[in-house]
Amino acid sequence: MGTSVSLIINGKTVTANIDPRMLLVQFIREHMQLTGTHIGCDTAQCGACTVFVNGNAVKSCSALAVQFEGAQITTIEGIAGANGEMHPMQAAFKECHGLQCGFCTPGMVMSAIDLVKRHGNSLSEQAIREGLDGNICRCTGYHNIVKAVQQGAANMKGV
């Protein structure tokens, strides 16, 4: 009773016949072996599973893979430069110590990039805190995350 689905993940077209119950995050992690996208709460609260669908941030634990026929999916593995150099937002998280255990980081980075794309490179602390509403850091390391996003946003100019 499988359902066919074709997705473009990080630029690569993938076609598979899957159980329609498979969540997008399971497809990414288990079928594609891209384990940078994390499953935190599995109930759409924490945002660790955030990926881009046609450029928009969504929670991949709360959608079925078969809903995304023909869509372009970008995961945390897909944002680095051609030679593997870190995306400016990833570099900023490293420099500002914007992580403690690191579990929420892939989702935070994806949401942060989405935020910059919508609101530009100069972000206030309030805009960042509001923009990251859908992401939870259970180490509660928000202070440095906000700093990292501010720096990453500035360094994304021209990217």
Binding site: A44, T50, V66, G134
Partner: protein, 265 residues
């Protein structure tokens, strides 16, 4: 999650035919349904996906009204220049649903058909006296909401668009539950030539409702002072682990006053 068969119609008529034949459920953004299926609160044997039905997407002006396709996502409504200029309260409401990621998936049609008792869109639809268009008919907002998770939609009927008349003034104030981001209480107030409407979400034990006592007071005097001291009847309000009916009643009056102030500013 229980097993189901997945269908991908390309048009409204194909979706309606599949729905009638399979006795299944529609999935739009799936931001409520997928979670409910994971918890086995919903277990459809057939799922009809509206994601590929292009005719359901988009926002247009029709005279004094803004017409939003059922498959339009919350983020698109929030960012729409047409909605922002004609009904800024509606754009703001859409921009305050859930979080960014949820707004990128969830749709207005999905939210209304689900009729979650704490959802935001039902307050806008009832508070603006909008009209729901389906594949069979049009339904006035006052006739659409039939109680918790219940609507006037027939089993084989689907929402195609919602038409919102632009009011003279309107505002929505939501008191968010900080964990779920749903409305503990949300109040939508609007004023136009036909009168004042006050719609309340999050509080009623039968879902969204119009607060008639507040409407009458505001019809005489559209100012925050007009609602001060009005006690909302607690008999039909929810008491749960988040708040008592008395607390919700208090919030309704307070938020209505704030919404009137915001609408008038």
């Amino acid at each position: 999650m229980y097993a189901f068969e997945f269908h991908r119609p390309k048009s409204v008529s194909e979706a309606a035919a599949l729905l009638a034949k399979s006795k299944g459920k529609l999935i739009a953004g799936g931001q409520s349904l997928v979670g409910a299926m994971k918890l086995r609160l919903a277990s459809p044997e057939n799922l009809v996906d509206l994601g590929g039905v292009a005719e359901l997407r988009g926002i247009k002006r029709e005279g004094n009204a803004i017409v939003i396709g059922a498959g339009t996502r919350h983020a698109e409504v929030a960012a729409s220049k047409d909605v922002q200029s004609s009904i800024p309260a509606l754009a703001a409401l859409a921009g305050g649903i859930g979080d960014r990621q949820v707004r990128n998936m969830g749709t207005i049609g999905g939210s209304l058909a689900n009729n979650d008792p704490a959802a935001d869109y039902p307050a806008a639809v009832l508070g603006l006296g909008a009209t729901i268009r389906t594949n069979k008919r049009t339904i006035a907002a006052d006739d659409f909401f039939k109680g918790m998770y219940e609507t006037a939609l027939a089993p084989d009927e689907l929402i195609t668009a919602v038409s919102f008349p632009a009011p003279k003034k309107a505002a929505y104030i939501k008191f968010r539950n900080p964990a779920s981001r749903f409305a503990l209480v949300g109040v939508f107030v609007s004023q136009d030539a036909s009168g004042v409407r006050v719609a309340v979400t999050g509080a009623g034990s039968a879902g969204v409702f119009r607060a008639t006592a507040l409407e009458q007071a505001l019809a005489k005097n559209f100012s925050p002072d007009a609602v001060k001291g009005i006690k909302v009847d607690t008999a039909k309000l929810n008491t749960d682990l988040h708040a008592t009916a008395e607390y919700r009643a208090h919030l309704i009056t307070v938020l209505a006053g704030r919404a009137v102030a915001k609408a008038s500013s």
